[in-house]
């Protein structure tokens, strides 16, 4: 082989190998291409399926969206960039009343209400200008039928590269809400109007009390502007006198209490007005207090009226008081000298006088007595006219009452040598309840007249029992005389004030002509009617019937007291203290007492009396009321409270006013007598008190510890009450004595004393009362015999109590 041949051979082999390689590559590439092609085909297929799917889905969405837009309850529409409708949904047609054909192509203001057009246009041009993507606006449209409909509208601007491509709007019919809002505003305005037009000033404060809101009504009320009020503390406008009340109310409000109260507030003018405030707290939704509201009503006028009324009332009271004072004064001024005249002429008549002197003196005495009666009558009739006379019903003893009448009238009757007969139905009881004082006045008035107008015959006081009704007795009182009688034509007028049967009567008999008028009124006050029968020159009978409640009898002492009135006593052992500043009055009393052979001492005022009683024991004190240095009332209080003395005190008063006598008895005096006094009256009063005191004095020897007079007084004749109380004491004291014997604890002992103190106050002596106080204050700790004494006295007291109970059960 040639080189060339091998060379070609080699080249051929290389070529062959390269070709083989190229073929292989080609084969591989072909396969790859095929595979890729296959893959591509598959993908293409998939893509087509997906496209169909997508198209289907899009269709569904569009259908759904269109159905949503078509079925929407809101208006939905689209506008082109110029603002013209390109699409409207059926709701747009339904609400506006226009068809789509009518709307499409029109400007968006097509159915906007003429009133709102300008506003709507400017709102949306602003939206575009400001490039706000979406907005909300409320406006009215006018429907095709002419109805006004409110829309609340959202507008969305749609942008594309070149700028605004259109607008989508969704609007809702808000007419109902708008109407509701309007009605709420209207009602709010209405109520505000009402509140503002009312006279109430309304103020709101926060929890710190600072003003947060002031309604104009409050400004009208006070004159401050809203600005001047808000942020201020209400105390700045409050009268200092009202601070305390306001604070109290604030506390109350904290406790959620609403209240009404009256305070004074300062107006802008500086003037204060009275307001009534109704304050109430108000709360947030969680129930926390956020402040309070106060409603203020001007009550200045009302307050002024109240004040005026109060002043007028006070004035009226003062004037009636001053009138009463005037009468008291006049009566005092007249009675004091009259007292002297009557008393001294009485005394003068007992001296040796020649017949002429005796006659003159007698006449002076008689005139003075008449004058006195007149003064009393005038006082009484004034009081009757003013309805000031009151009836004071109390238990009294008929026998005592008749004895007093007899004692008072006996002298006059004897002077005229007329028998004064008193006759009492045997069925009439002795203890009744009535106004003894007034009853006495009536009988004395009638009997005085009877004696006055009778010269021959007799005067008789007759008491008859008319009927019995349960515990009431109807008693007929008659005052019968055999005097000159009353003419039939005068009989009707006889009870009139200042009327006497004839003008002649006064000349012959004197008198004020008031006696019968007063008697008539008094009988009426006591519940009866006074009547008269008369035959001229044969006599008259005045009679009346009154109901009396029977008082329960006091068993004790009744007999004794009856007898004491008439039995003359030896008074030489009796010692009387005269307390009187007027020297003439002093003389009259001194002389009278000297004639009665009574020991007496005279002091000039209350203070001297107190000093005297400290040093010396008296049986009776005759106490004048009006005195310099210390008056009678103060002196009596001193004697009773400081000196703890029970000496009987008779008030000597120039004031015939019942109120004064009441006052005397209240401070602890035992009786009262009006100046100028009647000898007999004074005598019987002294006798009464002395005999009572003697009973006590006598028993002093045995020293009983038990005194039941206080209880009896309380009982008003109800003996069962006294017995009940004694039983209670008997039992409680037994218990306390038992405890006392068992304990050594001084607190317990003091407590027992404290508890038993009131009973001892009612049942026992002053000494015992003082002792129980000492025990209560534990004085026995340093002074042990005090306790022994107390226990022994308590035992005695209990024993006496038991004895009394045994005797009376």
């Amino acid at each position: 082989m040639s080189n060339e041949e091998s060379f070609y051979k080699k080249a051929y082999l290389r070529e062959k190998q390269a070709r083989k390689q190229a073929e292989k590559i080609l084969e591989d590439k072909s396969l790859e291409l095929y595979n890729t092609n296959e893959q591509l085909k598959f993908l293409n297929n998939n893509l087509e399926v997906e496209l169909v799917d997508r198209l289907k889905q899009k269709q569904i969405i569009e259908q759904e969206f269109s159905s949503f837009v078509n079925k929407a309850t809101d208006i939905i529409y689209r506008l082109d960039p110029k603002g013209c409708f390109t699409f409207v949904n059926p709701m747009t047609e339904l609400i506006s009343g226009f068809t789509a054909e009518e709307i499409i192509g029109q400007s968006f203001t097509y159915f906007v209400h003429p009133d709102d057009k300008v506003e709507v246009e400017s709102f949306y041009s602003e939206q575009i200008e400001m490039q706000q993507e979406s907005t909300y606006f409320e406006y009215k449209i006018k429907s095709k039928e002419g109805r006004d409909i409110w829309l609340g509208q959202n507008v969305q601007i749609i942008y594309k590269e070149e700028g605004i491509s259109g607008f989508i709007a969704i609007a809702r019919n808000i007419t109902e809400r708008k109407q509701l809002e309007k009605s709420i505003i209207q009602s709010e305005e209405k109520y505000r109007g009402i509140i503002e037009s009312l006279e109430f000033g309304i103020l709101e404060v926060d929890t710190k009390g600072i003003i947060t809101k002031a309604h104009s009504s409050f400004s009208t009320l006070t004159g401050y502007t809203q600005k001047e009020l808000i942020g201020k503390n209400p105390y700045e406008f409050l009268h200092p006198d009202s601070y305390a009340l306001m604070q109290l109310q604030e506390e109350k409000r904290k406790d959620k209490v609403a209240d009404v109260y009256e305070v004074q507030i300062k107006k802008k003018t500086g003037e204060y007005i009275w307001v009534i405030i109704s304050g109430a707290p108000f709360y947030d939704t969680e129930g926390n207090q956020t402040g309070s509201v106060g409603i203020h009503l001007d009550i200045t006028e009302r307050k002024k009226m109240e004040e005026d009324l109060k002043k007028a009332n006070e004035k009226a009271l003062a004037s009636s008081k001053s009138k009463e004072l005037f009468f008291a004064k006049v009566s005092h001024e007249i009675r004091t000298p009259l007292n002297a005249v009557v008393g001294l002429t009485d005394l003068l008549l007992k001296t040796d006088l020649n017949p002429t002197q005796k006659k003159y003196t007698y006449n002076i005495n008689k005139s003075a007595n008449n004058l006195l009666l007149l003064v009393n009558d005038i006082l009484d009739i004034t009081k009757i006219e003013k309805d000031q006379l009151s009836i004071n019903n109390k238990p009294f003893k008929l026998k005592n009452f008749l004895n007093n009448i007899h004692a008072t009238l006996d002298y006059q009757a004897q002077q005229k040598e007329l028998p004064l007969l008193i006759s009492v139905d045997k069925n009439i009881e002795n203890h009744y309840i009535s106004d003894e004082l007034r009853l006495t006045q009536i009988i004395i008035n009638l009997a005085n007249n009877a004696i006055k107008f009778t010269s021959i015959g007799y005067v008789k006081i007759l008491l008859e029992l008319v009927s019995i009704k349960k515990n009431q007795h109807l008693i007929k009182f008659s005052v019968i005389d055999t005097g000159k009688g009353i003419a039939q034509d005068k009989i009707d007028k006889i009870f009139n004030e200042f009327t006497q049967e004839s003008t002649n009567t006064f000349n012959t008999y004197g008198g004020s002509g008031l006696g019968l008028a007063i008697s008539k009124k008094l009988v009426e006050l006591l519940g009866g009617t006074i009547q008269v029968t008369s035959n001229l020159n044969k006599g008259s009978t005045f009679f009346f019937t009154l109901p009396f409640t029977i008082a329960e009898k006091k068993k004790k002492n009744t007999k004794k007291e009856e007898t004491t009135v008439f039995t003359a006593k030896d008074w030489s052992a009796t010692k009387i203290l005269i307390v009187e500043d007027n020297p003439i009055n002093q003389l009259v009393i001194q002389e009278t007492l000297t004639i009665w052979k009574v020991q007496h001492k005279t002091v000039n005022n209350g203070l001297e009396a107190v000093e005297q009683i400290k040093q010396e024991e008296f049986d009776i004190v005759l106490m004048d009321m009006q005195m310099p240095v210390m008056d009678g009332i103060t002196a009596t209080k001193e004697i009773r409270q400081t000196l703890k003395s029970n000496v009987p005190i008779i008030a000597f008063t120039a004031n015939a006013m019942k109120a004064d006598i009441q006052k005397c008895l209240e401070v602890g005096m035992n009786d009262a007598i009006t100046k100028p006094f009647k000898e007999e009256e004074l005598k019987s009063k002294i006798q009464n008190l002395v005999s009572k005191n003697h009973i006590i004095k006598k028993s002093k020897n045995i020293k009983p510890l038990l005194h039941i007079d206080k209880l009896e007084e309380l009982a008003h004749g109800n003996m069962a009450f006294v017995i009940k109380m004694l039983h209670i004491f008997n039992e409680t004291s037994q218990q306390e004595l038992k405890t006392l014997s068992e304990t050594t604890d001084c607190n317990v002992i003091s407590q027992i004393a404290h508890k038993i103190k009131p009973s001892i106050g009612y049942l026992s002596t002053l000494e015992m009362q003082e002792l129980v106080l000492k025990i209560e204050f534990k004085e026995f700790v340093n002074n042990p015999e005090l306790l022994d004494k107390f226990i022994s006295m308590l035992k005695t007291l209990k024993k006496e109590c038991k004895n009394h109970l045994d005797k009376h059960s």
């Binding site: 309380l714 209670i728 508890k755 103190k757 009131p758 009973s759």
Partner: protein
């Protein structure tokens, strides 16, 4: 408002009876007496118009009874009874709602009792009027 029902609460039976007698003398009232604070509280549901309450009771302090009563029945008038020596204590009770106090054997005169009872009646009347006034105002607003 008339005063009708009255309680007297005092461990001193004697004084309770005395006071009952004195009250009966000034008017006709329905009076009940109790001798312990507990008895009074147990019966307070009867709502008397007035309770005369001793400040010193055997079983308990009158103060406690007063506080107890006023917390449940603020409208009942409680009148504290006291001796002259304990006047200071009695005055203090006013702070705890007592209407008034009465000094035994000194204040219990018919006039004073009648005045106190009438005052309570008057107070009740004013209270009712105030309630009415407030009701009227609430009704206006």
């Amino acid at each position: 408002m008339m005063i009708k029902n009255i309680f007297i609460v005092d461990d001193d039976i004697f004084y309770a009876n005395i006071l009952e007698n004195k009250i009966e003398a000034v008017g006709s009232y329905q009076i009940e007496k109790f001798h312990t604070g507990q008895d009074c509280i147990n019966n307070a549901h009867k709502q008397p118009d007035i309770i005369f309450l001793d400040h010193f009771l055997g079983d308990t302090n009158g103060f406690e009874v007063l506080k107890d009563l006023k917390s449940t029945y603020p409208d009942i008038h409680v009148l504290m009874l006291s001796g002259q020596e304990e006047l200071q204590i009695a005055v203090k009770t006013l702070k705890y709602g007592a209407t008034d106090y009465l000094i035994k054997n000194s204040d219990d005169t018919p006039e004073k009792l009648l005045q106190i009872i009438n005052d309570c009646g008057q107070l009740n009347k004013l209270k009712t009027q105030k309630k009415k006034k407030r009701g009227l105002l609430n009704f206006i607003l």
